[in-house]
Structure formats: C-alpha cells, structure tokens
C-alpha cells in the first residue's frame, strides 16, 4: 500500500516538474537563441573568445583550489594550537635542540647563510651574461648610488645608431651590407643589465617614384631607445615582431607586397590593410621587395618578446622590382 502511494507521489511530482517547464519555457525563443548561437560558434574569433572564457573559468577553479589548500594549512595550524602545553613544550625543545646542532655544524666548516650575502650581491653586479641570469635581476636603474649597474647604452652601440639613423636613398647594395654589419650589437656585460622602457618606433621610408626598374638599395634604420638585457651568448632565440605597412603616395594601403626576411628566407605578404607582421630574430635585417613608388612604414614592437634585440637599432632594407636582396 505504502509502495503504491510512493509511486503515485513520485509520478505526480515529475508531472509537476514537467508542467513547470512547459509553463515557464518559451521554446520558439530558445530555438532562435540556439540558431543564432550556432552562427556564433561557427565564427573562429568568437570561438577563440569562448576558449579564453573557459581558460578564465579554469583559472578561477585553480584559485579556488589554492584557497582550499590554504584552508587546509590553516586547519593544520589550528590543530597545532589545540596541542596541550606539554606537547608544545616538547616541540619547542626539539626545535631549540636542532638549532643548536645547526650552529655547531657552522662552526665546524659550514658557511653561514648571512656570510654569503655581500658576495652574492657583488656577483650580480657583474652580471654573468653567459647564463642570461642578468635578465631576471630587478635593478633600480634610477638609483645614482648604484655603481654596480650600468644604465647607459655602451658607446659602440650609440655610434652604430648614429651611423644608421639617417638613411641615404642612393646607397649602393654593398654599402648597405656594411651598415648591417655595423648594427650588430655589442655583447659587453654592462649592456646585459641595461633596461630602457621605450619599445616602439616608426620610420617612414619612400622609394623613388619612377616606374623603371630600381637597382639601388636603400637601408633605413628603425631607431629605438630600447636596449634590453641580452642573452645571445647562450644562443637564445629572439622573437621580435616587426609590422611593415605599405601605402601609396596617396596613403592607400597596398596588398600583396612581398616582404622577405633576409635571415630566415621566409616571405610574407601584406594584407588588405597593406600590413604584414614579420616575425624575426635578433637584429637581422629585413629585405622588402616591392614595386617602386610606395611608402613604407615599419614599426618594431618588443613588447611581445621575452628578450629583445640587444642592439638599439633595427635595420630594414627595401628594394624595388628587379633589385637584389642583400
């Protein structure tokens, strides 16, 4: 009897749930929502945004987990607090005894940690560039009393900047190659600890407007005030983003212009906005091959790189049709 009553009650309850749903929901509206969402999901950019949202949700879950772990540690402390005074005394005696033993070890040949302090700071000041450790050192370069850190760009770097900041439109291919060599950055230890914040510079270039084949080669440096820690000596691969835009004399973007990275040999092509993001490494030059009569804007963005080009200049080469890539 009771069983039958239960079955009836369960059935009625589920019917109420179904009636609730039927009363409350608006299936046509939900269908429209679904169909619009299907197109939403079909769009790659929005899918990426959705993936980002999922990653953020994951981060929140991880934060929750950390809070739980912290809570667990606090529980452990509470447990410690609940120990009887006698047990606490025993713990204190044990800790005291272990401390005495440690001091005895130090006096018999171990070097105490506080004795190492000054020497280790001195080591940091000299910046061991072979390991790239200098990049991680937090140095206040505005402190004038801090003599162990150089905050200026080395003189050879400055001179190479001066050499390349004023391009000549009639430079021959051979002289450009020489300039490229000059822009190779120094590898002195003091450079490794120099950090300047500015990261982006734009240079505007123009080619001769004749429609004939251009045989000359022009080198234009993109001068930046950035000279960031370098660790090239241990073979770190740099990742610098250079955005090059190609426009007509009237300012219209030109799509399909071929741009070649001299170092890697990889070719890029400008998009509809006339721009191409050219990833490069180190201070290698870029060769841009394009029809004559266009203007070029090239900008370098170090913000994407974990380590940046060690030299203060970045040289872009460009030629007209028929020219030789340096």
């Amino acid at each position: 009897m009771r069983e039958m009553a239960t079955e009836q009650e369960v059935r009625e309850m589920f019917e109420r749930v179904a009636a609730d749903a039927a009363d409350r929901l608006n299936p046509p509206a939900k269908l429209g929502e679904l169909l619009s969402n299907q197109s939403f999901y079909a769009r790659p950019a929005l899918r990426e945004r959705l993936a980002l949202r999922e990653r953020l949700a994951l981060r929140e879950r991880l934060a929750l987990r950390e809070r739980l772990a912290l809570r667990g540690r606090l529980d452990g402390l509470k447990l410690l607090g609940a120990l009887t005074p006698v047990a606490l005394s025993l713990v204190a005696v044990f800790m005291l005894a272990s401390s005495v033993l440690t001091r005895q070890e130090d006096s018999t040949g171990f070097i105490a940690a506080d004795q190492l302090g000054d020497e280790s700071v001195g080591e940091l000041g000299s910046a061991d560039t072979s390991t790239g450790a200098g990049a991680d050192v937090d140095v206040d370069s505005t402190d004038p009393d801090d003599e162990s850190v150089s905050t200026t760009v080395p003189s050879e770097t400055t001179s190479s900047t001066e050499t390349t900041t004023e391009p000549t439109t009639e430079t021959s291919a051979s002289s450009t190659t020489t300039e490229k060599t000059e822009t190779t950055a120094p590898t002195s230890a003091s450079t490794a600890l120099t950090t300047v914040s500015s990261t982006e510079t734009t240079a505007t270039l123009s080619l001769p407007t004749t429609g004939s084949t251009i045989t000359s080669l022009t080198s234009v440096p993109l001068t930046t005030t950035t000279s960031e820690p370098s660790s090239t000596t241990n073979g770190t691969v740099f990742d610098i983003l250079v955005t090059i835009s190609v426009i007509t004399a009237d300012g219209d973007p030109v799509a399909g212009v071929s741009i070649t990275n001299v170092a890697s040999g990889v070719r890029y092509s400008t998009n509809r906005q006339g721009r191409a993001d050219v990833g490069t490494s180190g201070c290698d030059g870029l060769a841009m091959v394009a029809p004559a009569g266009y203007k070029f804007n090239a900008s370098r963005d170090n913000r994407l790189s974990t380590t940046s080009c060690k030299g203060p200049t970045f040289t872009v080469y460009y030629t007209g049709l028929g020219s030789t890539i340096p």
């Binding site: 369960v10 309850m13 589920f14 749903a21 679904l34 299907q38």
Partner: protein, 172 residues
C-alpha cells in the same frame, strides 16, 4: 542550389523537432540535474550538437533518443559537479547563495529524489517521467538491463524508506 534546398529542409525539420521536445527534455534534465536553470543550458547544449549533426540524426528512427541520452549524461555530470562545488564552498565557509530557478516541488519527495545517486535518479526520472521500460533505460544509461532494473529497484526502495521515516509516513 541543391545544397540550399537541403539546408532549408534541415532547418525546418529541426525546428519542428526542437519545438516538439524542448520543454519535455528540460523537465527531464531538471529532474536529474536538480536545477532548472542548469537544465535549460544542458538541453540547449545537446540541441546545439543535434543541430550540427542533424543531417545524420534526421535519418534515425528516433532522433530524440540520441538527444535524451546526451541530456541524461550531461545532467549526471553537471549534478556531480554541483555537488563537488557545494562541498568545496561549504569548506570555505558561508557565501552568497547562487540564485537559480527551482521547481515548485519543494517537498520532501523532491529532496529525497535529489539525494539519490546520479544514475538512480536518472533511472527513476526516465521511468516515471518518460515511461521508459528497463531495457530502454539501460540503453540510455549505457548499461545492462539487469543493472537498470537494480538501479530502479534501489531508487524506489530508498525513496520508500525516506518517506516512511518522514512524519508524513507516520500519518499513513
């Protein structure tokens, strides 16, 4: 041109399918997941997948069975996740209660059903709400028919016990 005609056909039949089953599937998901707001999301998600695969599903004898199975699986997963989150939040201390729609069935029976293990809850919802037989329940849950029968038996026994120990049971 042929592709266009096919697309229109797909959309119209899918719309009929959607409108015909959406509410019922939400009710089923509510019974299993225990939360009507989540249930809507679950069904919408399953319907989205059905829409993606509609040319294939449309050829099935009973396409709603495919969606129902997806809904049940997602509801079980979601219920487990809710319980895990509730436990974690309980350990962290009192917080803001999550605002969501709950069915009006706020009696002891609803609580008892929600306290059942996930697969037992799914079995009992399919049995009473959808009128499924044990072989159909087994198919949806991906288990043997004997297992489905056991799930159903244990769920009913638990509910009976719960209601007998209630004050309502004492009145009967």
């Amino acid at each position: 041109m042929r592709v266009e005609r096919r697309k229109v056909h797909v959309d119209s039949t899918f719309a009929d399918f959607y409108l015909g089953h959406f509410s019922r599937l939400v009710a089923l998901a509510t019974a299993v997941a225990g939360d009507a707001t989540f249930a809507e999301d679950i069904v919408q998600d399953a319907m989205g997948k059905a829409h993606d695969r509609w040319p294939e599903l449309d050829g099935y004898d009973n396409p709603v069975a495919w969606v129902r199975r997806a809904v049940i699986n997602k509801s079980i997963d979601r219920k487990r996740r809710i319980l895990r989150e509730a436990k974690a939040l309980a350990r962290l201390g009192p917080g803001q209660p999550r605002a969501s729609f709950q069915p009006r069935s706020d009696d002891e029976l609803w609580s008892a059903v929600q306290a059942l293990p996930a697969r037992q809850r799914a079995a009992i919802a399919l049995f009473y709400m959808e009128g499924y037989q044990t072989n159909e329940i087994a198919e949806v849950l991906g288990c043997a028919e004997a297992t489905a029968r056991t799930l159903l038996h244990r769920a009913r026994a638990t509910l009976r016990l719960e209601l007998d120990t209630d004050h309502r049971g004492a009145q009967l």
